[in-house]
Amino acid sequence: MAFEIIETCVNCYACEPLCPNQAIYQASPHFLIDPDKCTECIGDYMDAQCSSICPIEGAILDELGREVNPPGSLTGISPALLAKYQAAVEATYQTALAAKSA
Protein backbone atom coordinates (compact mmCIF):
# COMPACT_ATOMS: atom_id res chain seq x y z
CA MET A 1 0.00 0.00 0.00
CA ALA A 2 1.81 3.09 -1.22
CA PHE A 3 1.44 6.24 -3.28
CA GLU A 4 3.74 7.07 -6.17
CA ILE A 5 5.02 10.38 -7.55
CA ILE A 6 5.39 10.41 -11.33
CA GLU A 7 7.28 12.53 -13.88
CA THR A 8 4.79 15.41 -14.00
CA CYS A 9 6.03 16.44 -10.52
CA VAL A 10 7.44 20.00 -10.63
CA ASN A 11 9.72 19.60 -7.58
CA CYS A 12 7.96 22.21 -5.45
CA TYR A 13 8.90 20.52 -2.14
CA ALA A 14 5.41 21.11 -0.71
CA CYS A 15 4.73 17.44 0.08
CA GLU A 16 8.10 16.53 1.53
CA PRO A 17 7.85 18.08 5.02
CA LEU A 18 4.23 16.94 5.46
CA CYS A 19 4.81 13.19 5.24
CA PRO A 20 4.30 11.61 8.68
CA ASN A 21 6.58 8.70 7.71
CA GLN A 22 9.41 10.67 6.02
CA ALA A 23 8.72 8.50 2.98
CA ILE A 24 9.16 11.36 0.49
CA TYR A 25 12.65 12.28 -0.65
CA GLN A 26 14.24 14.57 -3.21
CA ALA A 27 15.59 12.74 -6.24
CA SER A 28 16.41 13.52 -9.84
CA PRO A 29 14.52 14.31 -11.98
CA HIS A 30 11.75 14.55 -9.37
CA PHE A 31 10.72 13.72 -5.80
CA LEU A 32 9.96 10.08 -5.00
CA ILE A 33 8.06 8.10 -2.37
CA ASP A 34 9.68 5.17 -0.63
CA PRO A 35 6.97 2.48 -0.99
CA ASP A 36 8.23 0.66 2.09
CA LYS A 37 7.61 3.69 4.29
CA CYS A 38 4.39 5.08 2.76
CA THR A 39 1.19 4.24 4.63
CA GLU A 40 -1.06 6.58 2.60
CA CYS A 41 -1.29 8.44 5.94
CA ILE A 42 -3.74 5.90 7.34
CA GLY A 43 -3.78 6.24 11.10
CA ASP A 44 -2.20 9.69 10.95
CA TYR A 45 -4.53 11.87 8.91
CA MET A 46 -7.98 11.76 7.35
CA ASP A 47 -6.49 12.60 3.95
CA ALA A 48 -3.12 11.61 2.52
CA GLN A 49 -0.93 14.69 3.02
CA CYS A 50 1.17 14.67 -0.14
CA SER A 51 -1.81 14.50 -2.45
CA SER A 52 -3.69 17.09 -0.37
CA ILE A 53 -1.13 19.82 -1.05
CA CYS A 54 0.19 18.71 -4.46
CA PRO A 55 -0.76 21.42 -7.00
CA ILE A 56 -0.22 19.24 -10.07
CA GLU A 57 -3.13 17.11 -11.21
CA GLY A 58 -2.13 13.54 -11.93
CA ALA A 59 1.34 13.77 -10.38
CA ILE A 60 0.51 11.34 -7.54
CA LEU A 61 -0.94 7.87 -8.09
CA ASP A 62 -2.55 5.62 -5.50
CA GLU A 63 -1.73 1.95 -4.91
CA LEU A 64 -3.90 0.98 -7.91
CA GLY A 65 -2.15 3.46 -10.20
CA ARG A 66 -5.14 5.84 -10.24
CA GLU A 67 -4.61 9.61 -10.22
CA VAL A 68 -5.45 10.85 -6.73
CA ASN A 69 -6.12 14.32 -8.17
CA PRO A 70 -7.61 13.73 -11.63
CA PRO A 71 -7.53 16.39 -14.40
CA GLY A 72 -9.72 19.39 -13.60
CA SER A 73 -10.03 18.56 -9.91
CA LEU A 74 -7.57 21.20 -8.65
CA THR A 75 -7.36 23.93 -11.26
CA GLY A 76 -10.96 23.84 -12.49
CA ILE A 77 -9.55 23.60 -16.01
CA SER A 78 -11.52 20.80 -17.65
CA PRO A 79 -9.60 18.25 -19.72
CA ALA A 80 -11.76 19.21 -22.73
CA LEU A 81 -10.73 22.87 -22.44
CA LEU A 82 -7.08 21.96 -22.08
CA ALA A 83 -7.26 19.67 -25.12
CA LYS A 84 -8.91 22.44 -27.14
CA TYR A 85 -6.15 24.84 -26.21
CA GLN A 86 -3.43 22.35 -27.01
CA ALA A 87 -5.03 21.72 -30.42
CA ALA A 88 -5.10 25.48 -31.08
CA VAL A 89 -1.41 25.80 -30.17
CA GLU A 90 -0.56 22.91 -32.47
CA ALA A 91 -2.56 24.48 -35.32
CA THR A 92 -0.81 27.84 -34.89
CA TYR A 93 2.53 26.08 -34.90
CA GLN A 94 1.71 24.14 -38.07
CA THR A 95 0.49 27.32 -39.80
CA ALA A 96 3.71 29.10 -38.87
CA LEU A 97 5.76 26.15 -40.17
CA ALA A 98 3.83 26.10 -43.44
CA ALA A 99 4.27 29.87 -43.86
CA LYS A 100 8.00 29.51 -43.28
CA SER A 101 8.49 26.77 -45.85
CA ALA A 102 6.29 28.54 -48.44
Binding site: A14, D47, L74, V89
Partner: protein, 511 residues
Protein backbone atom coordinates in the same frame (compact mmCIF):
# COMPACT_ATOMS: atom_id res chain seq x y z
CA UNK B 1 -1.48 51.04 15.94
CA UNK B 2 -2.86 52.84 12.95
CA UNK B 3 -0.18 54.16 10.62
CA UNK B 4 -0.91 57.38 8.81
CA UNK B 5 -1.58 56.79 5.16
CA UNK B 6 -0.11 58.70 2.24
CA UNK B 7 -2.31 61.31 0.58
CA UNK B 8 -4.84 60.77 3.28
CA UNK B 9 -4.90 64.31 4.49
CA UNK B 10 -7.62 66.26 2.69
CA UNK B 11 -5.96 69.49 3.78
CA UNK B 12 -2.69 68.58 2.14
CA UNK B 13 -4.49 67.58 -1.02
CA UNK B 14 -6.53 70.74 -1.29
CA UNK B 15 -3.50 72.93 -0.74
CA UNK B 16 -1.57 71.21 -3.45
CA UNK B 17 -4.49 71.40 -5.84
CA UNK B 18 -5.12 75.05 -5.15
CA UNK B 19 -1.69 76.20 -6.09
CA UNK B 20 -1.20 74.01 -9.07
CA UNK B 21 -0.32 70.77 -7.42
CA UNK B 22 3.00 71.56 -5.88
CA UNK B 23 4.10 71.56 -2.31
CA UNK B 24 7.56 71.32 -0.98
CA UNK B 25 7.34 67.67 -0.03
CA UNK B 26 5.80 66.24 -3.13
CA UNK B 27 6.48 68.54 -5.95
CA UNK B 28 5.33 67.68 -9.39
CA UNK B 29 3.95 64.40 -9.48
CA UNK B 30 5.63 61.57 -8.60
CA UNK B 31 7.81 63.79 -6.59
CA UNK B 32 8.02 61.81 -3.65
CA UNK B 33 4.63 60.88 -2.45
CA UNK B 34 6.43 59.78 0.65
CA UNK B 35 6.25 63.39 1.78
CA UNK B 36 3.12 62.72 3.79
CA UNK B 37 4.64 59.87 5.75
CA UNK B 38 5.97 60.29 9.24
CA UNK B 39 9.74 60.57 9.40
CA UNK B 40 10.42 57.09 10.82
CA UNK B 41 8.54 55.41 7.96
CA UNK B 42 10.14 57.61 5.34
CA UNK B 43 13.53 56.66 6.70
CA UNK B 44 12.63 53.02 6.17
CA UNK B 45 11.39 53.33 2.60
CA UNK B 46 13.34 56.21 1.03
CA UNK B 47 15.81 53.86 -0.67
CA UNK B 48 13.38 51.03 -1.33
CA UNK B 49 12.67 50.85 -5.06
CA UNK B 50 9.38 49.02 -4.61
CA UNK B 51 7.96 51.45 -2.06
CA UNK B 52 9.25 54.78 -3.28
CA UNK B 53 8.56 55.95 -6.79
CA UNK B 54 11.50 58.34 -6.59
CA UNK B 55 13.85 55.62 -5.34
CA UNK B 56 12.93 53.21 -8.12
CA UNK B 57 14.88 55.28 -10.63
CA UNK B 58 18.08 54.83 -8.59
CA UNK B 59 18.01 51.76 -6.39
CA UNK B 60 17.80 48.14 -7.47
CA UNK B 61 16.19 45.09 -5.90
CA UNK B 62 16.53 41.37 -6.24
CA UNK B 63 14.44 38.33 -5.45
CA UNK B 64 15.81 34.91 -4.59
CA UNK B 65 13.68 31.92 -5.48
CA UNK B 66 14.09 29.77 -2.38
CA UNK B 67 10.40 29.14 -1.75
CA UNK B 68 8.88 26.73 -4.26
CA UNK B 69 6.06 25.29 -2.14
CA UNK B 70 2.66 26.90 -1.99
CA UNK B 71 -0.31 26.40 0.31
CA UNK B 72 -3.02 27.80 -1.95
CA UNK B 73 -3.95 27.84 -5.63
CA UNK B 74 -4.83 31.08 -7.40
CA UNK B 75 -6.59 31.11 -10.74
CA UNK B 76 -3.93 33.42 -12.23
CA UNK B 77 -1.06 31.09 -11.35
CA UNK B 78 0.25 27.97 -13.04
CA UNK B 79 2.54 25.92 -10.83
CA UNK B 80 4.57 24.61 -13.76
CA UNK B 81 6.81 27.62 -13.39
CA UNK B 82 10.03 26.89 -15.22
CA UNK B 83 9.84 29.26 -18.19
CA UNK B 84 12.85 31.54 -18.58
CA UNK B 85 11.24 33.83 -21.15
CA UNK B 86 8.44 35.14 -19.04
CA UNK B 87 8.40 38.00 -16.64
CA UNK B 88 5.62 37.65 -14.15
CA UNK B 89 5.30 36.69 -10.50
CA UNK B 90 5.58 33.01 -9.72
CA UNK B 91 7.89 32.28 -12.63
CA UNK B 92 11.55 31.38 -12.08
CA UNK B 93 14.35 29.60 -13.90
CA UNK B 94 16.04 27.84 -11.01
CA UNK B 95 15.06 27.23 -7.41
CA UNK B 96 17.92 27.92 -4.99
CA UNK B 97 18.87 26.42 -1.66
CA UNK B 98 19.33 28.99 1.14
CA UNK B 99 23.13 28.56 0.87
CA UNK B 100 23.05 29.26 -2.87
CA UNK B 101 20.69 32.18 -2.35
CA UNK B 102 22.98 33.85 0.19
CA UNK B 103 25.92 33.46 -2.19
CA UNK B 104 23.91 34.96 -5.05
CA UNK B 105 22.74 37.92 -2.98
CA UNK B 106 26.29 38.76 -1.93
CA UNK B 107 27.54 38.44 -5.52
CA UNK B 108 24.83 40.78 -6.77
CA UNK B 109 25.35 43.24 -3.90
CA UNK B 110 29.06 43.44 -4.73
CA UNK B 111 28.47 43.88 -8.47
CA UNK B 112 25.37 46.09 -8.37
CA UNK B 113 26.01 48.38 -5.40
CA UNK B 114 22.68 50.15 -6.04
CA UNK B 115 20.93 46.96 -4.92
CA UNK B 116 19.46 47.82 -1.52
CA UNK B 117 16.67 45.29 -1.14
CA UNK B 118 16.41 41.52 -1.11
CA UNK B 119 12.96 40.03 -1.32
CA UNK B 120 11.69 36.50 -1.08
CA UNK B 121 8.57 36.22 -3.15
CA UNK B 122 8.29 32.69 -4.33
CA UNK B 123 7.89 31.04 -6.74
CA UNK B 124 5.45 29.55 -4.22
CA UNK B 125 4.62 31.24 -0.91
CA UNK B 126 7.65 32.16 1.24
CA UNK B 127 5.81 31.40 4.48
CA UNK B 128 4.78 27.99 3.22
CA UNK B 129 8.55 27.29 3.12
CA UNK B 130 9.42 28.72 6.54
CA UNK B 131 12.72 26.86 7.04
CA UNK B 132 14.15 27.80 3.66
CA UNK B 133 12.91 31.39 3.86
CA UNK B 134 14.04 32.07 7.42
CA UNK B 135 17.41 30.38 7.00
CA UNK B 136 18.08 32.74 4.08
CA UNK B 137 17.02 35.76 6.15
CA UNK B 138 19.06 34.66 9.18
CA UNK B 139 22.25 34.24 7.16
CA UNK B 140 21.80 37.51 5.33
CA UNK B 141 21.04 39.57 8.45
CA UNK B 142 24.38 38.37 9.73
CA UNK B 143 26.56 38.50 6.62
CA UNK B 144 25.09 41.46 4.75
CA UNK B 145 23.57 43.80 7.32
CA UNK B 146 23.36 46.65 4.79
CA UNK B 147 20.66 44.88 2.76
CA UNK B 148 17.00 45.39 3.56
CA UNK B 149 14.96 42.21 3.68
CA UNK B 150 11.37 41.87 2.52
CA UNK B 151 8.91 39.10 2.10
CA UNK B 152 5.77 38.75 0.08
CA UNK B 153 3.00 36.34 1.04
CA UNK B 154 -0.54 35.24 0.34
CA UNK B 155 -1.12 35.56 4.09
CA UNK B 156 -2.41 32.08 4.90
CA UNK B 157 0.55 31.20 7.13
CA UNK B 158 1.22 34.79 8.18
CA UNK B 159 -0.13 34.86 11.77
CA UNK B 160 2.08 31.94 12.85
CA UNK B 161 5.13 33.59 11.18
CA UNK B 162 4.85 37.10 12.61
CA UNK B 163 6.98 36.32 15.65
CA UNK B 164 9.83 34.94 13.53
CA UNK B 165 9.50 37.77 10.99
CA UNK B 166 9.91 40.40 13.68
CA UNK B 167 13.19 38.81 14.80
CA UNK B 168 14.99 39.55 11.54
CA UNK B 169 15.99 42.67 9.73
CA UNK B 170 12.59 42.64 7.98
CA UNK B 171 10.69 45.86 8.15
CA UNK B 172 8.48 45.39 5.13
CA UNK B 173 5.95 42.69 4.36
CA UNK B 174 3.72 42.52 1.31
CA UNK B 175 0.41 40.65 1.53
CA UNK B 176 -1.53 39.86 -1.62
CA UNK B 177 -5.15 40.55 -0.73
CA UNK B 178 -7.54 40.26 -3.66
CA UNK B 179 -10.76 40.35 -1.68
CA UNK B 180 -12.33 40.65 1.75
CA UNK B 181 -15.52 38.84 0.70
CA UNK B 182 -15.42 35.01 0.51
CA UNK B 183 -17.93 34.97 -2.34
CA UNK B 184 -15.48 36.97 -4.41
CA UNK B 185 -12.63 34.82 -3.08
CA UNK B 186 -14.33 31.63 -4.26
CA UNK B 187 -13.93 32.90 -7.84
CA UNK B 188 -10.19 33.51 -7.36
CA UNK B 189 -8.95 30.66 -5.15
CA UNK B 190 -10.01 27.12 -6.05
CA UNK B 191 -8.42 25.64 -2.92
CA UNK B 192 -6.20 26.17 0.11
CA UNK B 193 -4.24 23.67 2.23
CA UNK B 194 -5.18 24.22 5.84
CA UNK B 195 -4.83 22.10 8.98
CA UNK B 196 -3.73 19.04 6.99
CA UNK B 197 -6.63 19.21 4.54
CA UNK B 198 -7.28 20.62 1.11
CA UNK B 199 -10.26 22.94 1.45
CA UNK B 200 -12.07 23.93 -1.72
CA UNK B 201 -14.07 26.98 -2.78
CA UNK B 202 -15.79 29.51 -0.53
CA UNK B 203 -14.84 27.78 2.71
CA UNK B 204 -11.16 27.94 1.79
CA UNK B 205 -11.42 31.58 0.71
CA UNK B 206 -13.07 32.48 4.01
CA UNK B 207 -10.18 31.01 6.01
CA UNK B 208 -7.61 32.69 3.77
CA UNK B 209 -9.26 36.10 4.16
CA UNK B 210 -9.45 35.75 7.95
CA UNK B 211 -5.75 34.80 8.13
CA UNK B 212 -4.72 37.70 5.87
CA UNK B 213 -6.59 40.24 7.97
CA UNK B 214 -5.29 38.81 11.22
CA UNK B 215 -1.71 38.80 9.90
CA UNK B 216 -2.06 42.40 8.70
CA UNK B 217 -3.23 43.54 12.15
CA UNK B 218 -0.46 41.63 13.93
CA UNK B 219 2.25 43.14 11.72
CA UNK B 220 1.09 46.74 12.00
CA UNK B 221 0.73 46.28 15.77
CA UNK B 222 4.46 45.48 15.81
CA UNK B 223 5.34 48.46 13.66
CA UNK B 224 6.28 46.36 10.63
CA UNK B 225 5.35 48.16 7.41
CA UNK B 226 2.75 46.40 5.33
CA UNK B 227 2.07 46.92 1.66
CA UNK B 228 -1.01 45.28 0.18
CA UNK B 229 -0.96 43.95 -3.38
CA UNK B 230 -4.22 43.31 -5.21
CA UNK B 231 -4.62 41.75 -8.61
CA UNK B 232 -7.35 43.54 -10.58
CA UNK B 233 -9.51 40.93 -12.27
CA UNK B 234 -12.21 42.60 -14.38
CA UNK B 235 -15.68 41.26 -13.61
CA UNK B 236 -14.41 39.38 -10.56
CA UNK B 237 -12.99 41.84 -8.02
CA UNK B 238 -12.61 45.15 -9.86
CA UNK B 239 -15.60 46.77 -8.16
CA UNK B 240 -14.68 45.18 -4.85
CA UNK B 241 -11.15 46.58 -4.64
CA UNK B 242 -12.20 50.02 -3.39
CA UNK B 243 -13.64 48.20 -0.36
CA UNK B 244 -10.42 46.21 0.02
CA UNK B 245 -8.47 49.47 -0.06
CA UNK B 246 -10.67 50.97 2.67
CA UNK B 247 -10.41 47.90 4.92
CA UNK B 248 -6.65 47.43 4.67
CA UNK B 249 -6.03 51.12 5.20
CA UNK B 250 -8.13 51.06 8.36
CA UNK B 251 -5.96 48.21 9.62
CA UNK B 252 -2.75 50.11 9.05
CA UNK B 253 -1.41 49.08 5.63
CA UNK B 254 0.61 52.04 4.34
CA UNK B 255 0.53 51.39 0.61
CA UNK B 256 -1.88 49.70 -1.77
CA UNK B 257 -0.66 48.33 -5.07
CA UNK B 258 -3.39 47.47 -7.56
CA UNK B 259 -1.84 45.39 -10.32
CA UNK B 260 -3.37 44.25 -13.58
CA UNK B 261 -4.22 40.58 -14.05
CA UNK B 262 -1.74 38.87 -16.36
CA UNK B 263 -3.62 36.12 -18.20
CA UNK B 264 -2.68 34.66 -21.56
CA UNK B 265 -3.79 31.23 -22.77
CA UNK B 266 -0.16 30.17 -23.21
CA UNK B 267 0.46 30.63 -19.47
CA UNK B 268 -1.87 27.69 -18.92
CA UNK B 269 -3.62 29.35 -15.99
CA UNK B 270 -7.36 28.98 -15.30
CA UNK B 271 -7.99 32.62 -16.19
CA UNK B 272 -5.74 32.42 -19.25
CA UNK B 273 -7.53 29.38 -20.64
CA UNK B 274 -11.01 30.64 -19.73
CA UNK B 275 -10.43 33.80 -21.74
CA UNK B 276 -10.58 36.06 -18.69
CA UNK B 277 -8.96 39.29 -19.82
CA UNK B 278 -6.85 41.69 -17.80
CA UNK B 279 -7.83 45.35 -17.47
CA UNK B 280 -6.95 47.90 -20.16
CA UNK B 281 -4.43 50.61 -19.23
CA UNK B 282 -7.34 52.99 -18.89
CA UNK B 283 -9.42 50.71 -16.64
CA UNK B 284 -6.43 50.10 -14.37
CA UNK B 285 -5.69 53.81 -14.07
CA UNK B 286 -9.34 54.62 -13.29
CA UNK B 287 -9.44 52.04 -10.51
CA UNK B 288 -6.11 53.22 -9.10
CA UNK B 289 -7.43 56.77 -9.11
CA UNK B 290 -10.68 55.66 -7.43
CA UNK B 291 -8.81 53.78 -4.71
CA UNK B 292 -6.29 56.57 -4.18
CA UNK B 293 -9.01 58.61 -2.49
CA UNK B 294 -8.79 56.06 0.25
CA UNK B 295 -5.11 55.40 0.29
CA UNK B 296 -1.80 55.93 -1.36
CA UNK B 297 -1.51 54.02 -4.61
CA UNK B 298 1.61 52.53 -5.99
CA UNK B 299 1.94 52.89 -9.74
CA UNK B 300 5.48 51.89 -10.55
CA UNK B 301 5.20 48.18 -9.72
CA UNK B 302 6.61 45.90 -12.42
CA UNK B 303 5.17 42.61 -11.17
CA UNK B 304 8.64 41.10 -11.03
CA UNK B 305 9.58 37.48 -11.41
CA UNK B 306 10.42 35.63 -8.20
CA UNK B 307 14.11 35.69 -9.28
CA UNK B 308 14.39 39.20 -10.76
CA UNK B 309 17.65 41.14 -10.38
CA UNK B 310 18.32 44.82 -11.06
CA UNK B 311 16.44 48.08 -11.33
CA UNK B 312 12.67 47.67 -11.56
CA UNK B 313 11.87 47.00 -15.18
CA UNK B 314 15.23 45.42 -15.93
CA UNK B 315 16.25 41.86 -15.25
CA UNK B 316 19.93 41.02 -15.00
CA UNK B 317 19.27 37.54 -13.62
CA UNK B 318 21.15 35.93 -16.50
CA UNK B 319 24.40 37.53 -15.29
CA UNK B 320 24.04 35.80 -11.93
CA UNK B 321 23.06 32.22 -12.61
CA UNK B 322 24.43 29.65 -10.17
CA UNK B 323 27.12 28.40 -12.57
CA UNK B 324 28.38 31.99 -13.02
CA UNK B 325 28.51 32.91 -9.33
CA UNK B 326 30.03 29.60 -8.29
CA UNK B 327 33.48 30.92 -9.19
CA UNK B 328 33.07 34.50 -7.96
CA UNK B 329 35.15 35.43 -4.94
CA UNK B 330 33.30 38.07 -2.96
CA UNK B 331 35.05 40.31 -0.47
CA UNK B 332 31.91 41.53 1.26
CA UNK B 333 33.50 43.96 3.74
CA UNK B 334 35.16 45.74 0.79
CA UNK B 335 31.92 45.63 -1.16
CA UNK B 336 30.08 47.20 1.80
CA UNK B 337 32.40 50.19 1.75
CA UNK B 338 31.82 50.71 -1.95
CA UNK B 339 28.08 50.21 -1.52
CA UNK B 340 27.94 52.83 1.22
CA UNK B 341 29.73 55.32 -1.07
CA UNK B 342 27.31 54.67 -3.93
CA UNK B 343 24.30 55.00 -1.63
CA UNK B 344 25.64 58.27 -0.22
CA UNK B 345 26.19 59.59 -3.76
CA UNK B 346 22.59 58.78 -4.69
CA UNK B 347 21.33 60.34 -1.47
CA UNK B 348 23.22 63.55 -2.31
CA UNK B 349 21.72 63.58 -5.80
CA UNK B 350 18.23 63.06 -4.41
CA UNK B 351 18.73 65.81 -1.87
CA UNK B 352 19.82 68.26 -4.56
CA UNK B 353 16.73 67.32 -6.57
CA UNK B 354 14.46 67.80 -3.60
CA UNK B 355 15.94 71.20 -2.84
CA UNK B 356 15.56 72.24 -6.47
CA UNK B 357 11.93 71.25 -6.52
CA UNK B 358 11.29 72.97 -3.20
CA UNK B 359 12.85 76.11 -4.61
CA UNK B 360 10.68 75.82 -7.70
CA UNK B 361 7.62 75.47 -5.52
CA UNK B 362 8.57 78.66 -3.67
CA UNK B 363 9.01 80.48 -6.96
CA UNK B 364 5.67 79.22 -8.17
CA UNK B 365 4.00 80.49 -5.00
CA UNK B 366 5.67 83.88 -5.33
CA UNK B 367 4.65 84.08 -8.95
CA UNK B 368 1.14 82.94 -8.28
CA UNK B 369 -0.38 86.39 -8.07
CA UNK B 370 1.37 87.48 -11.24
CA UNK B 371 0.16 84.52 -13.24
CA UNK B 372 -3.39 84.60 -11.90
CA UNK B 373 -4.57 85.97 -15.22
CA UNK B 374 -2.75 83.31 -17.15
CA UNK B 375 -4.15 80.62 -14.95
CA UNK B 376 -7.58 80.71 -16.57
CA UNK B 377 -5.92 79.62 -19.80
CA UNK B 378 -3.95 76.96 -18.05
CA UNK B 379 -7.03 75.52 -16.41
CA UNK B 380 -8.72 75.18 -19.77
CA UNK B 381 -5.83 73.00 -20.92
CA UNK B 382 -6.52 69.28 -20.99
CA UNK B 383 -4.29 66.57 -19.52
CA UNK B 384 -1.77 64.90 -21.84
CA UNK B 385 -0.17 61.48 -21.49
CA UNK B 386 3.48 61.17 -22.47
CA UNK B 387 5.65 58.07 -22.70
CA UNK B 388 9.27 58.20 -21.55
CA UNK B 389 12.21 55.91 -22.36
CA UNK B 390 14.65 55.69 -19.46
CA UNK B 391 17.35 53.40 -18.15
CA UNK B 392 17.07 54.87 -14.65
CA UNK B 393 18.39 57.84 -12.75
CA UNK B 394 15.18 59.81 -13.35
CA UNK B 395 16.39 61.13 -16.70
CA UNK B 396 15.54 60.52 -20.36
CA UNK B 397 18.45 58.34 -21.37
CA UNK B 398 17.17 55.44 -23.46
CA UNK B 399 16.85 55.13 -27.24
CA UNK B 400 13.34 54.55 -28.53
CA UNK B 401 14.43 51.34 -30.23
CA UNK B 402 16.15 49.89 -27.17
CA UNK B 403 13.36 50.46 -24.67
CA UNK B 404 11.66 47.35 -23.36
CA UNK B 405 9.27 49.51 -21.36
CA UNK B 406 8.05 53.09 -21.29
CA UNK B 407 7.10 55.09 -18.21
CA UNK B 408 3.83 56.96 -18.61
CA UNK B 409 3.40 60.45 -17.19
CA UNK B 410 0.38 62.71 -17.20
CA UNK B 411 0.91 66.45 -17.50
CA UNK B 412 -1.95 68.68 -16.44
CA UNK B 413 -2.17 72.28 -15.22
CA UNK B 414 1.54 72.60 -14.71
CA UNK B 415 1.67 69.40 -12.73
CA UNK B 416 3.24 66.05 -13.66
CA UNK B 417 1.98 62.77 -12.35
CA UNK B 418 3.45 59.30 -12.81
CA UNK B 419 0.76 56.95 -14.11
CA UNK B 420 2.47 53.63 -14.72
CA UNK B 421 4.56 51.74 -17.22
CA UNK B 422 3.93 49.80 -20.38
CA UNK B 423 6.03 46.89 -21.51
CA UNK B 424 6.96 46.18 -25.10
CA UNK B 425 9.49 44.38 -27.26
CA UNK B 426 12.42 46.67 -28.05
CA UNK B 427 11.83 47.88 -31.60
CA UNK B 428 15.45 47.20 -32.62
CA UNK B 429 15.37 43.63 -31.30
CA UNK B 430 11.98 42.57 -32.60
CA UNK B 431 11.94 40.41 -35.70
CA UNK B 432 9.94 41.54 -38.71
CA UNK B 433 6.74 40.15 -37.34
CA UNK B 434 5.46 38.32 -34.33
CA UNK B 435 3.21 35.29 -34.68
CA UNK B 436 0.11 37.27 -35.53
CA UNK B 437 1.76 39.40 -38.18
CA UNK B 438 2.15 42.45 -35.95
CA UNK B 439 5.59 44.08 -36.08
CA UNK B 440 7.48 45.07 -32.94
CA UNK B 441 6.78 48.70 -33.83
CA UNK B 442 3.05 47.97 -34.18
CA UNK B 443 3.08 46.43 -30.71
CA UNK B 444 4.84 49.45 -29.23
CA UNK B 445 2.43 51.84 -30.92
CA UNK B 446 -0.52 49.83 -29.60
CA UNK B 447 0.96 49.76 -26.10
CA UNK B 448 1.45 53.53 -26.20
CA UNK B 449 -2.17 54.19 -27.17
CA UNK B 450 -3.48 57.28 -25.44
CA UNK B 451 -0.03 58.90 -25.32
CA UNK B 452 0.53 61.97 -27.48
CA UNK B 453 4.30 62.27 -27.09
CA UNK B 454 7.12 59.80 -26.66
CA UNK B 455 10.29 61.21 -25.11
CA UNK B 456 13.55 59.35 -25.63
CA UNK B 457 17.24 60.10 -25.92
CA UNK B 458 17.14 59.24 -29.62
CA UNK B 459 14.60 58.00 -32.09
CA UNK B 460 15.37 56.69 -35.55
CA UNK B 461 13.97 57.86 -38.87
CA UNK B 462 12.07 54.64 -39.54
CA UNK B 463 9.69 54.62 -36.55
CA UNK B 464 9.16 58.38 -36.76
CA UNK B 465 6.52 58.32 -39.49
CA UNK B 466 4.36 55.49 -38.08
CA UNK B 467 4.50 57.08 -34.59
CA UNK B 468 3.36 60.44 -35.94
CA UNK B 469 0.67 58.78 -38.00
CA UNK B 470 -0.62 57.15 -34.82
CA UNK B 471 -0.83 60.53 -33.12
CA UNK B 472 2.27 60.00 -30.97
CA UNK B 473 4.87 62.73 -31.46
CA UNK B 474 8.42 61.36 -31.19
CA UNK B 475 10.71 63.74 -29.31
CA UNK B 476 14.46 63.31 -28.84
CA UNK B 477 15.15 66.91 -27.86
CA UNK B 478 15.24 66.35 -24.11
CA UNK B 479 17.93 63.69 -23.90
CA UNK B 480 19.58 63.47 -20.46
CA UNK B 481 17.10 65.91 -18.92
CA UNK B 482 15.13 65.14 -15.76
CA UNK B 483 11.91 63.37 -16.77
CA UNK B 484 9.45 65.66 -15.02
CA UNK B 485 11.10 68.85 -16.22
CA UNK B 486 11.09 67.59 -19.79
CA UNK B 487 7.45 66.49 -19.62
CA UNK B 488 6.45 69.89 -18.27
CA UNK B 489 8.51 71.69 -20.90
CA UNK B 490 6.85 69.75 -23.72
CA UNK B 491 3.42 70.30 -22.18
CA UNK B 492 4.12 74.02 -22.06
CA UNK B 493 5.23 73.98 -25.73
CA UNK B 494 1.98 72.25 -26.61
CA UNK B 495 -0.03 74.81 -24.66
CA UNK B 496 1.71 77.73 -26.35
CA UNK B 497 1.15 76.10 -29.73
CA UNK B 498 -2.57 75.89 -28.93
CA UNK B 499 -2.62 72.10 -28.95
CA UNK B 500 -4.25 71.71 -25.58
CA UNK B 501 -7.64 73.21 -26.25
CA UNK B 502 -9.31 70.23 -27.88
CA UNK B 503 -8.66 66.54 -28.11
CA UNK B 504 -6.58 65.68 -31.15
CA UNK B 505 -8.52 64.10 -33.98
CA UNK B 506 -6.72 60.76 -33.85
CA UNK B 507 -7.31 60.29 -30.15
CA UNK B 508 -11.00 61.06 -30.58
CA UNK B 509 -11.26 58.42 -33.27
CA UNK B 510 -9.61 55.90 -31.02
CA UNK B 511 -11.91 56.69 -28.11
Amino acid sequence: MELPVLNSSPAANSVSNADGGCDSHSCGSTGDQLGHLPEHIRAKVHNHPCYSEQAHHYFARMHVAVAPACNIQCHYCNRKYDCSNESRPGVVSEVLTPVQAVKKVMAVAANIPQMTVLGIAGPGDPLANPERTFETFRELSEKAPDIKLCVSTNGLALPESVEELSKHNIDHVTITINCVDPDVGAKIYPWIFWNNKRIMGREGAEILIAQQQKGLEMLTARGILVKVNSVMIPGVNDEHLAEVSRVVKSKGAFLHNVMPLIAEPEHGTFYGLMGQSGPTHDELQKLQDACSGDMNMMRHCRQCRADAVGLLGEDRGQEFTMDKIEDMEIDYPAAMVKRAEVHAEIARELEIKEKASAAKAELAKAGLVAIQGLKKDVLKARPVLMAVATKGGGVINEHFGHASEFLIYEAHDGDVRFIGHRKTTPYCEGGDTCGDGESALDVTIRELSGCEVVLCSKVGYEPWGPLEAAGIQPNGEHAMEAIEDAVLAVYEEMRVAGKLEAKPVLQQKAA
